[in-house]
Symmetry: C2
Subunit: 547 residues, 2 copies
């Protein structure tokens, strides 16, 4: 059987665009002689529509789109993902479904059984789980359709709940007794650099266990915080990958289920993948929001330098303009490094010293602050003055402000709310400082784009004389390991100390993370590249005592 794999970038709720892309791919598949074309999970709506699924008109539009797509399935079959209405009187209103279309009609509707409801997933909120299983014949083959998590009933290793088996049910076990010959899996699996192998391993394990070939079709493209990386693949019944599609871009491929091909993607370094994820994250945020231009504050430090490079890659240098906003605490080299980078990249920049505005604030507050010594209040005035200037550029010229805070800072609250925490999108909020350095080195692999001095000098917020990040934070190498253990691995402080870290440093770090929930509550959306990013996938109560 010849199957076309349609790995597309959908726009949530943009039924016109999604339907157009799907129908276009059906035509292309038919022209190329495919018997069947497979799209990813919830392809017609884009993954994940959240509470838009509660709007009647949203579900109606989805049905209308599904009908239009089915009309086009003549001489070819298609499997398309979308919500379907639960006909039963009890239970949630919708299923997360795959529609098998042929002869201009929906022939089969298969509903998802395992609804992930951890980390960034929220599917049980909107969908009723399926409990009935069936296979069907097409082109002389018995097909079993599954949807994403349906194949994840056994996790590769213990998940964060400390359990290998998160679900009561095993859909593939149920299906296997019906003797399918091919398993098709419609997916929407977001990228995370520290789980990149487990997705393949889960599916390989299933293929071998049930001796069944599996076709896995993933979504590609970014949806606010989530980056879907594509990399759809076809596994033979021995769990060997026979076809693998591109990562971080749309792709289309036709496979013959009977003829091994062995078309694999080249291996890529982790830091390079994170880079691609961030560029796609920025580009899709802008494209899908209807924005074109970005701005950011360039300090001469490594974080803003890296964000600028990524923004220029994503949007083009003509669409990015930066502000240099030196204060009396800015070192000469900072200003020079910033200027050098702006010139290396050939982008528009302006310099606005912040001292006049800072003076004006301090002057106006002098009576209220009389007799009190300078502290974080004055430091924050500097950061917030920069925030106002950047938002003024944004409001005047329509350039969306990119936030440059990295994950280490975001974790310990090393940033000023309504100051350097401003922005429409946080580019590095899920990238630890040590990875920021790695990525800067990777960007400079062939030539010096980011000034070497920005990489080499000790990190500093430059809000007071001779300030260094290490004045108030542990060394980033150690800090990032402790943070990773606490945030990604969900280890307790005791467990982290038992791994050989200094007790006082661990407790102080954990305290900083917990004491800054209130800042992260108001942070911009963060492009997620890890298995546990700040944002929607990490729900910690704000008003609480943390153990």
């Amino acid at each position: 059987m010849k199957i076309a794999i349609a790995q597309l970038n959908y726009h949530i709720g943009n039924f016109e665009l999604n339907t157009y892309k799907i129908i276009d791919c059906i035509s292309k598949s038919k022209a190329a002689g495919a018997d069947l074309v497979v799209f990813s999970e919830l392809s017609v709506t884009g993954y994940y529509p959240h509470d838009l699924l509660e709007r009647k008109e949203f579900v109606e539009q989805s049905y209308k789109a599904i009908g239009q797509i089915a009309d086009c399935c003549t001489g070819i079959a298609a499997i398309v993902g979308g919500p379907s209405i639960n006909p039963e009187p009890r239970g949630k209103k919708l299923f997360n479904s795959a529609f098998f279309m042929y002869d201009g009609k929906i022939q089969q509707t298969v509903n998802k059984s395992l609804l992930p409801t951890y980390d960034i997933f929220d599917e049980y909120r909107h969908f009723e789980p399926n409990k009935q299983f069936s296979v069907f014949d097409f082109c002389g083959k018995k097909l079993a359709i599954t949807i994403c998590e349906d194949l994840w009933d056994e996790q590769e290793t213990q998940n964060e709940f400390g359990r290998e088996k998160l679900y009561q049910l095993s859909p593939l076990k149920e299906l296997s007794v019906l003797n399918p010959e091919l398993v098709i899996n419609l997916s929407a699996s977001p990228f995370s650099y520290n789980q990149e192998n487990s997705r393949k391993n889960i599916l390989i394990k299933n293929a071998i266990k049930y001796q069944l070939p599996i076709l896995y079709v993933n979504q590609v493209g970014a949806q606010t915080e989530l980056v879907f990386d594509g990399g759809s693949f076809f596994l033979d019944k021995n769990g060997i990958i026979q076809e693998e599609l591109n990562y971080f871009e749309e792709d289309f491929r036709i496979i013959d289920t009977e003829i091994p091909s062995g078309n694999l993607q080249p291996k890529t370094e982790t830091i390079e993948k994170i880079h691609h994820a961030l560029v796609l994250g920025i580009r899709d945020y802008f494209t899908k929001m209807g924005f074109k231009k970005a701005t950011l504050g360039l300090s001469g430090g490594i974080d803003s330098a890296l964000v600028l490079v990524l923004a220029v890659e994503a949007l083009g240098k003509e669409n990015v303009r930066v502000l240099l906003m030196p204060s009396r605490f800015s070192s000469d080299h900072s200003v020079n490094d910033a200027l050098q980078l702006a010139e290396n990249l050939g982008i528009q920049y302006e310099t606005i010293p912040i001292q006049p505005m800072v003076d004006s604030f301090e002057q106006s507050l002098s009576e209220v602050f009389a007799g009190l010594s300078s502290d974080v209040a004055e430091e924050n005035i500097q950061a917030r003055t920069r925030g106002i200037l950047l938002m003024a550029i944004s409001n005047k010229f329509g350039n969306i402000l990119l936030n440059t805070t990295n994950k280490s800072e975001c974790a310990v609250g090393y940033g000023t709310l309504y100051g350097d925490m401003n922005g429409g999108l946080s580019v590095l909020g899920d990238v630890y400082k040590t990875d920021v350095f790695k990525m800067a080195r990777w960007i400079n692999r062939d030539q010096e784009i980011i000034p070497e001095n920005s990489i080499l000098k000790p990190p500093s917020a430059e809000l007071r004389p001779d300030q260094k990040d290490t004045d108030s934070l542990p060394d980033y190498d150690m800090l990032d390991q402790i943070l990773f253990d606490y945030i990604e691995l969900n280890l307790s402080p005791e467990e982290i100390i038992a791994r050989g870290f200094d007790e006082a440093t661990v407790l102080r770090t954990v305290r900083m993370v917990n004491n800054n929930e209130y800042k992260r509550f108001q942070a911009p959306p963060i492009i997620r590249v890890s298995s546990k990013a700040f944002g929607f996938g990490r729900r910690i109560p704000l008003v609480a005592i943390y153990s």
Copy 2:
């Protein structure tokens, strides 16, 4: 049987405090001759701990607390809520449980069956649902324990999913065949002014249907966005309320299940209840976060006036200080109204005109903005300058900034991000402007506290000469009705138009709501008083096309 009802205010994760309160209530109940004392859902942890439930040390601490409480149950029984570990190898790690303790030991553990996963509820994320039902004997009576949503299998009216039966299972139906004589329900039901009757009606319906008395014990107190209003009650088997506890405060009451008492709470106006919810919301946010003092900007308008009155009630006038920050567009009456209010309340205020800072920004930006006319960029500089000044006060003196944006503004994006949208807590973010007026009138019911002029004058942001809210927004009476239909009732634009509203106005309003998701993404936590507040209970994707 004599049962003590313990309606307490818990602090999430504060096991020391929660355990102390629970044990104290057990002693008190024993001293008063009660056979049993009943606490609310997840009482030992506080409702709702969210992803703290994924931390091993959190669950361990909870078990330890439960053990300490069980030790104290000699000569009296207690029912306490807390998480329990699922002993089965499949499924989520935890149950949401009620522990029945007696003779110094846990005698029964009953698990929750129906796990709400809509609006602000997220229980399926952390808990495995129970599917086994049993009753047990105590004091010669067969008791059935249920937890909150367990009695909500049939909704009073169609819920937002358009369904009366959200669940497959009916726990009370299962239990009823075991012939219980009393149903106990441990709850954590948050207040919402437009659902205030449905909670009672659901339970009354159940009591009558199964001819069973029901004891309903609710949590009280605010947890960030949610306000739990208490109002625990005891229903006889005919569905008649025989005992009703206080609203919006801790309460403790002993009932005799055999002797009708008819102790009901007096009827209260809706606007008064919202008022009490907001005061409790502010007070608990401060108390539980360890804060004492608040600040806010007083404009002379109705919103900041109302927030100030509420803050003074919640925290005491000695703990609130305000800033008046007039600009060249501020009218004399605004400044006078603000001064009058500050003096009526006897609170500390300072006046800092913003013009010097605004001038400084405009001067510094003059080259970049050369040749361009004044627009929203300049308006926002004013709002953001005020935001910086308030945060400077907050940082210098430790006064937490209260946000004064109302729900109508929040809905249509009539506010400046990093300006007047700043704050640690949004007090009015779930109160429509028309209700702001109602509450101001209610506050002035005996004497003029809020200057009459603040209530009477047409609302204005005063960011340009002679600006009025109605220049860019529909009249608030109409606006709020459209917003309520769209947000609370989840009606489609077509349905709202069919109710008799002008088509262009409806479409413009809906567009404004949808175009401002990005602002609300970064808004402070909002005290929730309605059935659909902006925040955790309303999850709309940021990057999307809205139908």
